[in-house]
Amino acid sequence: MTTKFRMALRKPLEETTWQEIELGGLLREPGSARAYRVGDWRSQHPVWTKSRCIRCGVCWTVCPEPAIIEEPGGYFDMDPDYCKGCGTCARECVTGCITMVPEEE
């Protein structure tokens, strides 16, 4: 599982204090919300059956995060750091190759 979108932040969120925020609430780092791992929210995650996948990319287009990333072979897979487990990809998959599997402890 690649995390190619992951960005090195200057400082973690927990260590940032209010004194360090610029006047006027300016945020100089675009897309810094990537440091927040929303993947902790999910209770289920999608699993691709590669034999039935036609690599159309519909799952990638309907993901409200983008938590679906393309692997080198052209297949798609979820990004475990950001997938919230909504199941939209499984519902919209053309061939029905995505199944939602409950998270394990």
Partner: protein, 335 residues
């Protein structure tokens, strides 16, 4: 007008999901609910906007979830403004850029100016600023995320809430049917300003949404796009149904997709056979209390509005679903 947008969009006419741009401008890590149709809409609208744009965003769901204070999910230069003045701020940005260009202080092409707001920030609170900006004819694009209530504060009704919907401020009960008024037609209000481009879009039809945003950006003058964005939390629907519900809204005629270019209507997604509105309503918990008479009322109202729109578009009438049950039983005199 055909040379704007349409020429640009030729290369996407293959309608392949894989060929859509991969660069993300609304990044992962935002705090939207699971299955948020609005986040999906924002993702595709920002992709269509592309580089070199300034966004003014009203208070609302997408502002709350994307900009938790020391972090932001936006890749564009982005300013958060209050409910009332989104369009006013956007017109100020546009005028400032114009003056910078006139003085020769702006290197490169003119940045695109986009204003965004929820349905409360557009059709309720921000309407006067939007109306003024449209009337002055600033070159900007306004995108409205319509999730049909004030969702982030706890599902209060707005003027965009449809008839019969349950919200916390329009609860159904013995003396109430939920929301008692019909949805305000914000698109017609925008058309009435005589602006060059008005469109409705839905993230369930991504290519349609993409072309419309590109077209709106390339239109000189104000443009308005109304995006229906499904809210699983407020609509009380399953999280995986958000794209399906957006498609059902189009197929039942509740939210037809069309565009108005210089006052001429055109239906962009044609539905040959309409589905009954019951298919759309039964998937949402906010319409769970509705019974046959109310559903028939919504069906009649939807059909009448849809026929009016088709006449404006000069499009052929589709096959409408039969009414069920056909009519109310007549009261027997003296019974």
């Amino acid at each position: 007008m055909e040379k704007f947008g349409y020429a640009q969009s030729q290369k996407f006419d293959t309608y392949a999901s894989r060929l859509m741009p991969r660069q993300e401008y609304f990044t992962m890590g935002h705090r939207a609910c699971q299955g948020c149709g609005e986040a999906l809409a924002v993702r595709w609208v920002t992709k269509a906007i592309g580089k070199d744009a300034i966004i003014a965003h009203a208070t609302g769901c997408m502002e709350i979830v994307s900009s938790g204070m020391p972090q932001t999910a936006w890749m564009h230069p982005w300013i958060h403004v209050a409910f009332e003045n989104t369009a006013a701020v956007a017109s100020g940005i546009e005028t400032g850029l114009k003056i910078l260009e006139r003085k020769g202080k702006l290197a490169g092409p003119m940045p695109k100016v986009v204003a965004m707001g929820g349905d409360g920030g557009t059709s309720d609170i921000g309407l006067q600023a939007l109306s003024g900006a449209m009337e002055r004819g600033h070159n900007f694009t306004y995108v409205c995320w319509d999730n049909e209530a004030y969702m982030n504060t706890g599902i209060q009704r707005s003027s965009s809430t449809p008839y019969g919907a349950m919200t916390t401020t329009s609860p159904p009960g013995k003396k109430s049917i939920g929301q008692s008024t019909w949805k305000k037609n914000m698109v017609h209000i925008a058309v009435a300003h005589g602006i060059p481009y008005v469109a409705t879009a839905s993230p369930s039809y991504i290519f349609d949404l993409y072309f419309k945003v590109r077209k709106a950006l390339e239109t000189p003058g104000p443009a308005y796009i109304h995006v229906l964005s499904v809210c699983p939390t407020g609509w009380r629907s399953a999280t995986d149904m958000s794209v399906r519900l957006g498609r059902l809204a189009v197929e039942t005629g509740i939210f037809p997709l069309y565009e108005v270019v210089d006052g001429r209507y055109r239906l962009t997604v044609e539905v040959p056979k309409m589905r009954p509105v019951r298919d759309y309503l039964k998937l949402q918990g906010r319409f769970r209390h509705l019974r046959d008479p109310e559903i028939n009322l919504i069906q009649r109202h939807t059909e009448a509005n849809y026929k009016l729109l088709l006449e404006k578009c000069q499009a052929p009438f589709p096959e409408f679903p039969p009414m069920f049950p056909p009519e109310e039983p007549e009261l027997v005199a003296g019974a």
